[in-house]
Amino acid sequence: MTEPVLETRNLTKRFGALTASDGVSLDLRAGEIHALIGPNGAGKSTLIAQIAGSLAPDEGSVLFNGEDVTRLDTVARARRGLGRTFQISALAMEHTVLQNALLGAVGATGRAFRFFRPVLKDTALLARATEALARVGLQDLAARQTAELSHGQRRQLEVAVALTLKPRAFLMDEPMAGLGAGGSKRLTTFLGELRREAPILLVEHDMDAVFALADRISVLVYGRLIATGTVDEIRADREVRRAYLGEDA
């Protein structure tokens, strides 16, 4: 078997008495969508933050492409090819949609310390940004101020910015939230294809999307992984049904 693209080993994070991540070990393999599900407050976002480098774990490690990146910060991990989207949008709200996408292109190409040539005259950056916007269907809103976007559109822009990075793995925290039925269907189709470019660790509440998309599913409850398996295995798992799907087994 090939080495996983991304791996956590025994990740543990405590907030006071609360253990938000309790010895979590999971991996993300080339070409797959690995869905991370669990009730609200289970620690999904906290786990993503530790993988992305914005939160330091108390114990355990994160490996990316075989390298231990536990001690690297967000910037270093992003530059190694980790693309992240946020549950609560983190965008430059005063900037236009295009400028947000351009920012991603600037970061990805390491051009942030160029002072003279206008960013809008850099055709390489523009091409990268507009292509990413077109892929999520935001091309017509390129000139719109980001603050004017709906929640769903902001979520799409988050994905577009991550695309400009051409990452080696995606971390997506609830990208479907607020999209509406049509929008989440389109994004589901899109993510299904995107996995061929880079694997996706997908936190998602929409179970239809998860069951349609995921190659594997991990279930997180109170910070602990209670199961990892294929869609069928998770559907059949008694503990999962009891703890998460809310059924009596």
Binding site: D73, A78, A92, L98, L103, A112, F115, P118, L165
Partner: protein, 327 residues
Amino acid sequence: MRRETLLNAVIMGALLLVPLWAWVADEPFTITLATRVAILSLAGVGLNIALGLGGLVSLGHAIFFGIGGYAMGILASHAQDYSPLLESPFLIEGTKSMPVIWLVAIVTSALAALVIGALSLRTSGVYFIMITLAFGQMFFFFTISWPAYGGEDGLSIYVRNGFPGLNTLDPIQFFAICFVLLSLALFASSRISRSPFGLALTAARQSETRVLTVGIDSFRLRLVAFTISGAITGLAGALFADLNRFVSPTMFSWQTSGEIIIFVILGGVGRLFGPVAGAALFILLEHFLGGLSEFWQIYLGFLLLAVVLFARGGLIGTLAGREVAHD
């Protein structure tokens, strides 16, 4: 043409035409007033890069203004006394050459900004304001207690420094120098704000997380911005000292820092010509209201209050409308 571009052209045109008219009409005092506007604008253009683009509320920009001033004062005073600045390990002499003085002012204030930025940019918000203020006070009290260069009384330079091929004692020629330097700084500032660096810096002001997530080190962005900002304000300090032929610790005072912030806020934070509009308005108010009452700053206070409450975009924002994305 965009409305803001037009307004900028009008402002720059006025700043050029008023002293030219004064020159023809033989009104040297008006030329000096315009020169003050140009120099203080330049200081504001520097601050605007940190404050307007980076969102860094520095209450310490007087440091760079003062360093520029003292760079001029120290170099010129040694030149006028024919005493070397340093004898060992190697000889450094004073100079009365403006370009050399400018270079020294830019380099020393950039270095100071680099060090101060490295120490203070780990903090943000009110802590950053307080740390920059504290550094400013350190410089202020240091110069007061530094007798070699006049201490509290400051330093007088008898003859204005020279520029090859120009008579700098002629007010209109000195104005021309300041105007050209201001124009260059505005050009640089406009380039920076549209560059990849400017995009990343303004994005970091809005969402630090976003910038980090695309792999850009926001601390480095701010440090570079602060350094460029300090260097430009430092150059303004050297010119200001040359205009007055005098430097004193006042240049380092927190009131000076506050005034530079006022230029930027009055004119419009983050707007390219905001500092020019703000400095011009400030000097006009000082000139006309100052003639009416010693307490003219009360009116300035009301005006600032009005800007902050009702016209966040300052003068430029009020006249040219909301900022639009560059195209």
